[in-house]
Symmetry: C2
Subunit: 365 residues, 2 copies
């Protein structure tokens, strides 16, 4: 359990990876706290400039001597007609008026340069790099592996896992439908598959020969041992850390997490243009009624940024993106290190019970 | 593992319940085979007349001396406007023409009498009775319990589980989003919740004091041990038995199951008016484009019956309801008894590995 091949290669103590959670929650403090506790902290760097990415990596290294990971989004070209963009701009103005911010803002849809981000990760010799939304080029994967970086891909169906393995990644995150935040799905016709973790993990494990990391609805020692039982070599937990002391999530976001239930979330494209699971908000519900087409990611993400930021400033959760998974009732406000330790001791106790069960099973089988 | 309180009360050997699967798959042979192998076979009796229900129970008793279960649907009143029904009738005629059956058939939407079905279960002293789509009256639950019947309810969110416990059921099936067939959801505004098994089971276990039965995506010993780890006292498996030797599923249905993948299913109201998970078909895809409102269950179920039956006669899976869960790659055509035994020996072997893991964990924690 604590010595799977993957854990040895990650050079960490416990099979717990903190989900990257781009956009705020995964602070250097959170990442270092998880890594110092024996897990693997991860930085969601998709929205960071190469400069900020580099300085954050150096900041993390000042807080921990342990390994950590960095996650990037594989870029996709998105174009939308002027009409689609103008219609959405007009629709969004209603929220801008309400929030007292400028209407028809000039939207900068330019994203950070993936190549420059990768270059920083290579130069900084980051121990673990994971990718979401696709398969990086064999050159990128090879360049990272050549210097000893462990490369992880994200799959939501078996076929994505197979393609990632062929591309040469070292391990695969199997993202179940329970997971919070953006769906990693990159085979475009499969966006609605939403395979639950219980079904997804064993089917991917059977179809690839590299280690699988279970994610989606895993909140404590029960989810950890269950995932290892399904054949996973480790788990990735995000929602479990969202309201932790070291999380950078907005105070209102944390309070919402701690009061939400398993059925408080929904899948939406309202905020970013890409399917993601978050706590249901007025913004999501109203966008469900939107007559036009929602611009693709990252365009819609850029178009709603000023609204999300203004909502955060005024502590208004209804217009903020409150990414979260379906394990919400099990979220706590403990420190991230305590969450890692509690998860491991619960897992340890469960193994003790399993032992008793085995003795009983001897009598029967 | 094999001696949870629930298993003792069910008086069975292994914590494996075969899902009722109303409408064909759960034959007396399948039920008896599962019960004789040490699990609990279950009859999906929702669509059976009181007479057929009684004779089927007697048939099962001739095939096994072991306990078995019977599942009923808690009835709901559904009414639809003449316009809605006429529009759907006209739409469905296109399939009737193609299948060469009579257009505008007179639809009998009358369902079997729930009271009479319950009366039969009481008279026949059925060991286990489970309910789906709601909470039976306290009188019905008490009448069954008074004669020693173990009563099980079905929940898809925590709140449904709490209400079932208050009503007095003995145990709860926690139906995760991976599950095939009809969603048991009965709190009407929660139909889209679709909580994955990994997230649902521990959250329900924490909120009720009665035993929980995990269902949804559980296909083998890995899913069984994982579910027990999450706090379940047993599992309910349906898709795992659908293509088994003793299953009454149509030959074409079985072949489709054995060739389908984890992402072959979708949630649809096309066949019955109630949300259910099945392998994607032309009928489902075309109904997604249907302009009008789909009549509620059981009206739509009655309106599509002649089409499903004609499709089955002509071995046309595209117009049949192919209910199935997301664990499809793990389905086999073995005998149901072998599936129970294979699941248990795999579970037993997994416990052996857990034991090794525990020894390792000793060194660390």
């Amino acid at each position: 359990m604590f010595e799977t091949d993957l854990i040895r290669r990650l050079n960490i103590q416990f099979p717990i990876i903190q989900a990257p959670m781009a956009g705020g929650p995964a602070t250097s403090k959170l990442i270092a706290e998880v890594s110092n506790a024996g897990g693997l902290g991860s930085l969601g760097a998709a929205y960071l400039t190469p400069e900020t990415l580099r300085s954050t990596i150096q900041e993390i290294r000042q807080l921990t001597k342990q390994p950590f990971g960095v996650n990037l989004f594989v870029p996709e070209d998105a174009t939308e007609s002027q009409a689609t963009i103008e219609k959405m701009t007009a629709y969004l103005n209603k929220y801008r008026t309400e929030l007292g911010i400028k209407e028809n803002p000039s939207i900068n849809i330019a994203t950070e340069s993936f190549e420059e981000q990768v270059q920083v990760l290579i130069e900084e010799k980051v121990p673990v790099v994971s990718f979401t939304f696709g398969i990086p080029s064999k050159e990128v994967i090879q360049a990272l592996k050549n210097q000893g970086t462990l490369v992880i891909g994200t799959a939501t169906i078996v076929e994505e896992a197979k393609q990632l393995e062929s591309a040469g990644v070292d391990a695969i995150v199997a993202q179940g439908s329970e997971a919070g935040g953006h769906r990693g799905t990159f085979l475009s016709n499969k966006a609605d598959s939403l395979i639950g973790t219980m079904a997804l993990v064993p089917q991917i494990v059977d179809q690839v020969s590299i280690p699988v990391i279970a994610s989606g609805g895993i909140m404590d020692g029960r989810g950890l041992v269950a995932s290892l039982t399904l054949g996973a070599s480790a788990v990735q937990m995000g929602t479990a850390f969202l309201a932790s002391v070291e999380s950078g999530a907005h105070r209102v976001y944390k309070l919402t997490i701690l009061s939400a239930n398993e059925d408080s979330t929904a899948i939406t494209r309202a905020y970013s243009g890409k399917a993601a699971r978050g706590i249901q908000t007025t913004f999501m519900q109203e966008m469900d009624q939107y007559a036009g087409a929602i611009p693709a990611f990252p365009i819609q993400n850029a178009m709603t940024r000023d609204i999300r930021q203004a909502a955060a400033k005024t502590n208004n959760p209804e217009y903020m993106s409150l990414w979260a998974g379906q394990g919400l009732r099990l979220a706590t406000d403990h420190s991230a290190g305590a969450i890692v330790k509690q998860t491991m001791s619960q897992a340890h106790a469960l193994l003790g019970n399993m032992l008793k069960l085995k003795d009983k099973s001897e009598e029967i089988l």
